[in-house]
Amino acid sequence: MNAIELNNLTKTYNDGSITAVDHLSFDVKEGELYGLIGPDGAGKTSIFRMLTTLLLPDEGTAKVNGYDIVKEYKTIRNIVGYMPGKFSLYQDLTVEENLNFFATLFGTSIKENYDLIKDIYIQIEPYKNRRAGKLSGGMKQKLALCCALIHKPTVLFLDEPTTGVDAVSRQEFWEMLGRLKKQGITILVSTPYMDEAGLCDKIALMQSGKILSIEKPQAVISNFNEKLYGISKGNLYKIMLDLRKYEQTVSCFAFGDALHLRLKSNADDNVSNIKMYLKNHGYMDTEVKEILPGIEDCFIKLLG
């Protein structure tokens, strides 16, 4: 059964002049960890708000656990967990008070569902008497996740839960999501970070309210079907500008400490050709090698 179903879901703002979500359809299976990947403004938050019954769609329908998001919004509000993109707990309440409040709000108690949040809560428990506003970014997100989980939701909506969180906390956060998935909770998560996409069961790459592709992360990569070259060492910015003038170049982008280069052909002598081209332009000791594509490379390719 599908936990979430979207059918031509559309949301416009400013009397229809801005289309945030454009006739989207996709399904999320029960127990799936489903990622919405896309840059800011792709329409991810609008999708979350429609699915959590906070916004009414302009067109199309959607169901969460079989309940219609418009007609049966009250039922949906009882069974889902939602963590908005912006930290939205009471900053002047302590960690424990926040958690208690949300537990009572859903008619349960921390004790009752402690098992579910234990792994996460244990990390913030030493700070349980600290006000939520005084927590670090990663702690805040862990607390918000606890609050969203405390009533044992069947579907969990996480809108950019790791934005603004340090790399270690991000990794921990995703490990937690993996554990929650094992408990059978369906999770829809959005992120602008491509490296997190690989941790999902399925990802939908989004751009301007539309879905570019829906695949398993491995499939996205295997669909890349092209060779990709990594160039490192030297003045990468100048090299990038020069490489973009190379007649064979399709695209060239900087990725951390290397450049990723796509060429028109997949010929075997490409590496030596690139080296030659760079030498002719005065770059003597650069390193050029064939590399495996990541999700981000696929995304850039999809964007054309």
Partner: protein, 368 residues
């Protein structure tokens, strides 16, 4: 029920942890009562007055001497015309004028009675009353001495004229007005801000995606401010009794019940504002504009409604604080019972119900 309790407890946390606001909530009424109280009871020193002496005889000279000797007045004895005097009043140069008629001493000795005209600027009621009282007592003292000397009854009647506000409206009525203002300030502004804050901080988003009932949020927002306001009513009444010698003449229970009704009116107004306001700042400004200004200007607290142009008189009817002000003034100062104020109470009650119903209906169950 347990949910409601948790909600209310949460609201109390919000209120008591914001210490600056808390200080304002309890300190403001006390500060205002004391400030206004001092303005009301503080003696006046060196008030500028003008003495127009048409008599220039023994008696007038003796009275002027006494006036000059007192620390209350700064006397100007230049003879000015009636028109000049009025101009001086309008410009605020003088607070009072004292006019001796011609042949003051002669008439006093022959008819055993005479008059002195006191003209005071009653746009500032408190000062005017205090000054005329001081002046009357100086004249009275002089009159008593004359009687001892001459062994005949002599009366000098100070004929008092209050310029600009002859009926002295507003005397001692600032306490009822202050009660209305403080309750509006706390209930309207604080509730609207606290609901809008939930929207601004994003917590409303989470609350909405939960089984909560809008009524529950509203009720729990109301409870702390009802309590704070009742505490404030008590402190205002205590202060006005202890400092200003203004006890409640009517039934205290009635006064509290009417105040409770007005608190609910204010809370409903706050709720109404919060539904339309987008940020805490705009909630604050709308609250101030929609409640403080009309209360100051149109409730009859500062300016008598009867003196207003007709359109403003009509508008004043839709201002809840006008009705509450009338009610409190009646109970506190006149000692009225419910029979005398049932109409005002009914109007206030209907207004409250109306605002509450509209607000509840328009309470948004989704984000806009």
């Amino acid at each position: 029920m347990k949910q409601l309790f948790t909600f209310i407890r949460k609201e109390f946390y919000h209120v008591f942890r914001d210490q600056k606001t808390l200080l304002m909530l309890f300190g403001l009424p006390i500060a205002q009562i004391i400030l206004f109280g001092f303005a009301l009871t503080n003696e006046i020193k060196n008030a500028k007055i003008v003495i127009i002496d048409y008599a220039k005889d023994r008696a007038s000279a003796q009275i002027i001497e006494r006036i000059e000797a007192s620390k209350y007045f700064e006397v100007d004895k230049t003879l000015i015309s009636h028109r000049e005097m009025e101009a001086a009043f309008k410009e605020g140069k003088i607070k009072m004028a004292l006019i001796f008629p011609e042949n003051f001493n002669y008439n006093l000795l022959h008819t055993n009675s005479n008059q002195i005209q006191l003209i005071a600027d009653a746009s500032d009621i408190n000062t005017a009353t205090t000054l005329t009282n001081y002046m009357s007592s100086i004249i009275m003292e002089y009159q008593n001495e004359l009687m001892k000397e001459n062994l005949v009854t002599m009366t000098i009647v100070p004929e008092v004229r209050m310029l600009y506000n002859p009926q002295l409206k507003g005397e001692h009525t600032f306490v009822p007005g202050m009660m209305a203002m403080i309750m509006l300030l706390i209930c309207v502004m604080m509730t609207s801000i606290s609901i809008v804050r939930e929207k601004e901080m994003g917590t409303m988003e989470i609350l909405l995606v939960s089984p909560f009932q809008p009524l529950m949020v509203i009720l729990s927002k109301f409870v702390p401010y009802i309590l704070i306001s009742l505490v404030n009513v008590t402190s205002i009444l205590l202060l006005s009794w202890l400092f200003l010698d203004l006890p409640v003449k009517g039934s205290i229970l009635l006064l509290y019940s009417e105040s409770f009704l007005f608190i609910i009116t204010s809370l409903a107004l706050g709720l109404f504002i919060s539904i339309n306001a987008k940020s805490q700042q705009s909630a604050m400004f709308i609250s101030l504009g929609l409640t403080m200004l009309p209360t100051l200007l149109l409730s009859g607290f500062m300016f008598p409604i009867e003196n207003m142009p007709l359109p403003l008189q009509i508008i004043s009817n839709i201002i809840p604080s006008k009705w509450y002000y009338i009610i409190v003034r009646s109970i506190m100062i006149k000692g009225s019972t419910f029979v005398a104020i049932w109409r005002e109470t009914l109007i206030l009650g209907v207004m409250t119900l109306f605002i509450l119903i509209i607000s509840l209906k328009r309470f948004k169950i989704r984000l806009v």
